[in-house]
Amino acid sequence: MPISDCDKMVDIATTLPGLKLKNPTILAAGILGETGASLENVAKAGAGAVVTKSIGIEPREGHGNPTFVETEHGIINAMGLPNPGIDNYKDEVESIIGTNIPVIGSIFGADAQEFEILAVEMEKFGVSALELNLSCPHAKGYGAILGHDKEKVLEITKVVKGAVKVPVYVKLSPNVSNIAEIACAVEDAEGDGIVAINTISAMAIDIDMALPILSNAIGGLSGPGIKPIGLRCIYEIKAETELPVIGVGGILSGNDAIEYIMAGASAVQIGSGVYYKGIGIFSKVCQQIQEFMDAHSYKTIKEMVGIAQKG
């Protein structure tokens, strides 16, 4: 059946608190998000929204190279949160605000105060929502080290919620023993939603050199191999909270996206998929979602959200 026919019957728009997306695909944080022009390209390529690179208070080089290595089942990166700092990032964000899709500002800080400053600035730049990176596994003092701790998650989310009007999503780490508990902390703090998962702490060793390949030794695993873990996280979070969830981890196709949606995600993010398939992946995934919905008589994304939840 030609796509034009599908179009009439199937609606792939989705909504999240404070956001209306023309389709459920979102560019994940840290991929092509350091510059405004790249974000704009992704928007043009068909994403329903874009997330910026995670931005901190000060300019930061991140870890030395190698920062990227591919394995047979995914990629491992240890970028270490390089970013130009919030002040220098103003121009990048502002250049894409007002294009046709929502921009979600990702921020990371060492404590609630830093998050608050960053959140307020990002909101001023005009982003439609915030994503708190409490989950980067390879930058000392930031990210996962905070996200592993329920109390910190509660505190940071509360402080940011008190400081801004835009919806606040919290991005969680899978490197915990009970991700649903952390999600509950976000709910208690009245966060607006969850993004899961960030990368999984991992490494690769070159046996010829007898050395870890990444300069930081440990990095974050993403890509196709982590999909079963990401799905489980969404499923667990959805079983214990009412919060809307954005699913991310190893999505390369429309079917992958639908697995996430059925596990409970209202929208999905794509990161490593850009490496595997190029930026055409956003429109391709949308087309595949549409075809699946058409073949299986689903009319809206909402009907599918969480239907694989048992009981």
Partner: protein
């Protein structure tokens, strides 16, 4: 960017030979069975030090990179000995394609590295090559014998006048273009120089291909570190057409540092 067959994982290669091209530049030869086109680069892993992009300067069975010592990574590379091992990821990126018959090749300093194999290949299939090769001083030139063998005309400029034309290579090129026309200009060197050559190419209506440098991390088009106005030097470049260059606001003016800050060239 369709997914390649080989994993983006350093292949460990043994250094076969090292040739000192001039006091600051060495060519490191190694055996690796990839196929690369002139202008493509590899990510070179110097264990416990860094991973940096390097053009492939020899494309035959024995591969080579030609390294100018400018800092920590490159000085480590220059200290390596035959038998030592490095990691190679790639080749990556776009490449020079000589479509016309008469070519003007313009190189600034170490910018000759990706252009030398282009010249050899083009010469072998009968193209007419004029080279304009500029350096700060005579002692910074390299590959001269190699280049003689494949160019019809070899023009040298030095900033200090120690050999050939006294002045910038862009001034030399301006002179050459007054006397002669070409089907194509192929260029690599400092971006300020490329910018001048791009202006000259435009003025003279000659198609240009030029290779840019940006700070690289992933080398595969996802980290955005090498971004220039939405293009990525690692996969959309390093070789860009003059047409695309003319659309890039940052070209010849700004680069990004390792933090992603836009800084003046």
């Amino acid at each position: 960017m369709p997914k390649k067959d080989n994993l983006e994982l350093p292949r460990i290669v043994k250094i076969l030979d090292i040739v000192e091209e001039n006091p600051d530049v060495k060519t490191i030869f190694f055996e690796d069975d990839f196929e690369a086109y002139p202008g493509q680069f590899v990510m070179v892993w110097i264990p416990s030090v860094d991973e940096v992009p390097m053009s492939v300067s020899y494309l035959g069975e024995k591969k080579g990179i030609t390294v100018k010592n400018v800092g920590k990574a490159t000085s480590s590379l220059c200290k390596l000995k035959p038998g030592d091992k490095i990691g190679i990821r790639g080749p990556h990126g776009t490449f020079f394609e000589a479509t016309g018959d008469s070519l003007l090749v313009v190189a600034g300093g170490i910018g000759i590295a990706p252009l030398a194999p282009l010249m050899e290949n083009a010469h072998n299939i009968g193209k007419q090559i004029t080279l304009a090769f500029g350096a700060k001083s005579k002692s910074e030139l390299l590959f001269i014998n190699r280049l003689k063998g494949c160019s019809r005309e070899l023009n040298i400029s030095t900033d200090d006048g120690s050999l050939g034309f006294h002045g910038f290579v862009s001034d030399l090129v301006e002179d050459i273009l007054k006397k002669q026309s070409f089907d194509e200009i192929l260029c690599c060197g400092p971006e300020i120089m490329i910018k001048k050559i791009a202006d000259l190419a435009k003025l003279n209506g000659i198609p240009l291909q030029a290779s840019l440098e940006r700070y690289m991390k992933c080398g595969v088009g996802i980290c955005d570190s090498c971004a220039i106005d939405g293009f990525h030097v690692c996969i959309d470049g390093p070789v860009f057409s003059g047409k695309i260059l003319s659309e890039l606001a940052d070209f010849g003016r700004f680069r990004r540092d390792a933090c992603g800050r836009r800084v003046e060239l």
